[in-house]
């Protein structure tokens, strides 16, 4: 009787999940699997797709230097996003959590960039970087002509960092809110006993704060790493992968091949590659996280 009841509950819960599963299958799983087929073709996005075997993958691995550069830029993006905004937002959260007054004001003010649409933020920052009308002009009037002459979005060596700065600026408000929530969960008694034991601030941070907020930290890192392989909006809106191909990332290069160069088959092959890399990064992170947990 108990087994029969368990079976009934099993089929009911699946029934309720079914519509969402069907939608997911229709719009995510099936197109995702069809990507494998189309990556083996020379499909232009229109008309019939011609099977060409592994030619796209050979081109991607051996010939396409810009794709290699794009992956390198993704790696730079991962390294930047998984360090700078997290460190800054954690430090700010540690400061804000101690405030008795105006905590809500600082939280809200720092959160505002996160709610600004990426395209809008990009358009604003492109103007801020503008040599003639943006802050370089202000620097010039202040006599900082060297700094004013820097071509933030036009120098191939700097452009990716200039765009990354905008992304970080938009993100750390969100991380601050997450860290604040995690910090506020820590029982103050733990800190009090640590104080009694004579623990200094640094030791308190390393041995109490960080372990207690580790689940939040792990989640943020995981989302950041996976998100960094998919980054597209800020780069496309601010530089379109330029100057030259200096800020090209996998997503922008894939977009150009799919929608501007009529090479959808090749774009699919690159997408598959990025999927595998992002998936691999996630599993690696998951393994490391589990080891640290253990």
């Amino acid at each position: 009787m108990a087994v029969k009841g368990k079976k009934r509950r099993f089929s009911k819960s699946h029934f309720y999940v079914l519509p969402a599963f069907l939608l997911h299958a229709c719009f995510v799983t099936v197109p995702g699997l069809s990507m494998i087929y189309f990556s083996l073709t020379n499909w232009t996005g229109l008309g019939q797709a011609g099977f060409i075997g592994l030619d796209n993958f050979r081109r991607m691995i051996f010939t396409d230097a810009i794709f290699h550069r794009a992956l390198g830029n993704n790696l730079i993006w991962v390294l930047m996003m998984s360090t700078v905004p997290i460190v800054i937002s954690l430090l700010l959260a540690l400061l804000i959590v101690k405030l008795r007054r105006l905590q809500m004001f600082y939280k809200s003010a720092l959160f505002i960039p996160y709610v600004i649409a990426s395209v809008v933020a990009s358009a604003v920052w492109v103007q801020m970087y503008n040599k003639y009308f943006g802050f370089p002009r202000l620097l010039n009037t202040m006599g900082l002509t060297g700094l004013a002459a820097v071509n933030w979005l036009g120098d191939p060596k700097l452009a990716i960092y200039s765009v990354a700065m905008v992304r970080m600026w938009s993100q750390w408000g969100f991380f601050i809110v997450l860290f604040l929530a995690a910090l506020q969960q820590i029982d103050p008694c733990i800190y009090e006993s640590a104080d009694i034991e004579g623990v200094n601030a640094f030791q308190r941070f390393i041995h109490i704060t960080v372990p207690m907020i580790r689940p939040t930290l792990s989640t943020i890192w995981m989302l950041t790493i996976i998100g960094s392989f998919l980054t597209f909006d800020y780069i496309f809106a601010m530089t379109s992968g330029g100057p030259g191909n200096a800020t090209e990332v996998a997503a922008t290069w894939i977009y150009k091949h799919a929608f501007q160069k009529y090479e959808v088959g090749y774009a699919m092959a690159m997408s598959l590659c990025v999927c595998l890399i992002a998936g691999g990064a996630y599993f690696l992170f998951h393994l490391v996280d589990r080891e640290v947990d253990a």
Binding site: T44, Y132, G154, P243
Partner: protein
């Protein structure tokens, strides 16, 4: 609980059925109104208003059983490709000249030949129709007729005692003098996904002004290749001038076109390179200085200054169009309704790919618009014409031309490699059947 679950299943099933059934098109009975769906590239509100006022409403008034659904789609190329691949899409849509070959080869668009046989589009320039041919058939209807010119700030010229350049020496001198006077010689921005193709505007000028239209045509026809010194020289000169800071002080890589034009409007730049589409801005932007236009100067002895001509957007027909005849009728009416066409042009619409007498424009029209169209007429009648890249170069070559030039400008690649790549793409396109239009 069982009854509750059954009720829930029924509701879900009904919702699914309703959504499926509502997606099925209803059959149109004879005598009923038909709706022609037109998708158009991103454009200004003013332009959309002109479409409605001078083309759509008059057509609907004359044809009460035909409704025009004119929809502006940002990033139309991406959207239309997906729709066509799915077997849907509007009846007709705007596209770039460079995209005609890809659409045609995919088998998703229809020929307009049967409408030519009915006498439609008789006034369209022959060269424009030729530029839209694929496999001997008219694959698209050319719309706006474009010409390139060099715009300049007259007041600034006068103030500094400069005169409009007509040859390389004068051009180089004025650019150097402007830069020395802390004036941006040529305002030009190419940073953003759409705007990067603005390199085509100025590089087309260099090709036609240095190599000359004949060499341009010879290259595109496969008679000469990129190693021809006229071709290499044109590109090298552009790279040199860019490196001198004459093209927006090397900021083309970081400024978009609107930001670059702001320099011109703020009187911080002497020249700007724009085509006849600038009529839209002439009407809508308050410019408080005297300005005019001229031919891009000759950059080599023996090459006459010329105006590069081309087609702006083209109209293509979905092979599965529900109402192709009505769509063709509408676009033919745009070409043949003289009164409304003249009124639209007087209000900032670009001229079509057909003859137009600027003297027909009313006296109230902005004099710069009249000046522009008189300039274009003069250039055409005196055969001082060159070829724009977006009309007379295969799509794949044009794309690579404007998207890869920055690697050369920034010293990350060589001009030789860049041109070799363009040549390879050109050879491929010619082998696949692409032909120079004239």
């Amino acid at each position: 609980m069982k009854r509750h679950n059954r009720f829930l299943s029924l509701v879900l099933a009904l919702m699914l059925a309703v959504s499926v059934l509502s997606a099925m098109p209803a059959a149109v009975a004879e005598g009923e109104t038909v709706t022609v769906n037109i998708a158009w590239e991103n454009t200004t509100d003013d332009a959309v208003d002109r479409w409605h006022t001078y083309f759509i409403e008059p057509f609907e008034a004359a044809n009460p059983n035909i409704k025009i659904n004119f929809e502006v789609i940002p990033d139309i190329t991406t959207v239309i490709k997906v729709q066509l691949a799915a077997g849907t899409g509007p009846d007709v849509f705007s596209a770039d000249n460079v995209d005609i070959m890809e659409y045609w080869n995919s088998g998703t668009v229809a020929s307009w030949d049967k409408y030519l046989e009915q006498g439609y589009f008789a006034d369209v320039f022959d060269w424009a129709k030729d530029a839209c041919q694929m496999e001997g058939q008219l694959a698209a209807i050319p719309m706006s007729y474009e010409g390139m010119m060099l715009w300049y700030n007259e007041d600034m010229m006068q103030q500094h005692g400069w005169s409009f350049p007509t040859n390389l020496e004068e051009y180089e001198q004025i650019c150097a003098d402007a830069l020395a006077a802390d004036i941006v010689p040529i305002a030009h921005g190419c940073n953003n996904s759409k705007g990067r193709n603005a390199y085509m505007h100025i590089m087309g000028d260099y090709l036609n002004a240095y190599a000359g239209p004949e060499a341009f045509k010879a290259w595109m026809s496969g008679e000469v290749d990129y190693t021809d010194p006229r071709i290499t020289g044109a590109f090298q000169l552009f790279v040199d001038h860019w490196n001198n800071g004459w093209v927006n002080e090397k900021q083309t890589v970081s400024l978009d076109m609107n930001s670059a034009l702001a320099l011109w409007y703020q009187q911080m730049a002497l020249f700007q390179v724009q085509g006849s589409w600038y009529v839209g801005s002439i009407n809508s932007t308050e410019i408080d200085f005297n300005y005019s236009m001229g031919y891009f100067p000759s950059l080599k002895e023996g090459i006459e200054p010329n105006m590069n001509i081309g087609i702006g957007e083209v109209v293509m027909m979905n092979k599965d169009a529900a109402h192709p005849d009505e769509a063709a009728m509408f676009f033919n009416s745009i070409y043949t309704d003289e009164a409304n066409l003249t009124a639209a042009i007087a209000n900032g619409q670009q001229i079509l790919s057909r003859a137009f007498d600027a003297n027909k424009l009313p006296e109230s029209v902005n004099p710069h618009i009249v000046e522009l169209y008189n300039f274009m007429s003069e250039a055409s009648s005196e055969n001082k014409i060159g070829y724009t890249i977006w009309t007379f170069v295969p799509g794949t070559v044009a794309y690579s031309l404007y998207s890869d030039i920055e690697t050369v400008l920034l010293g990350e690649g060589t001009l030789e490699d860049y041109l070799k790549n363009l040549q390879a793409l050109l050879d491929e396109a010619i082998a696949a059947g692409w032909k120079f239009a004239l």
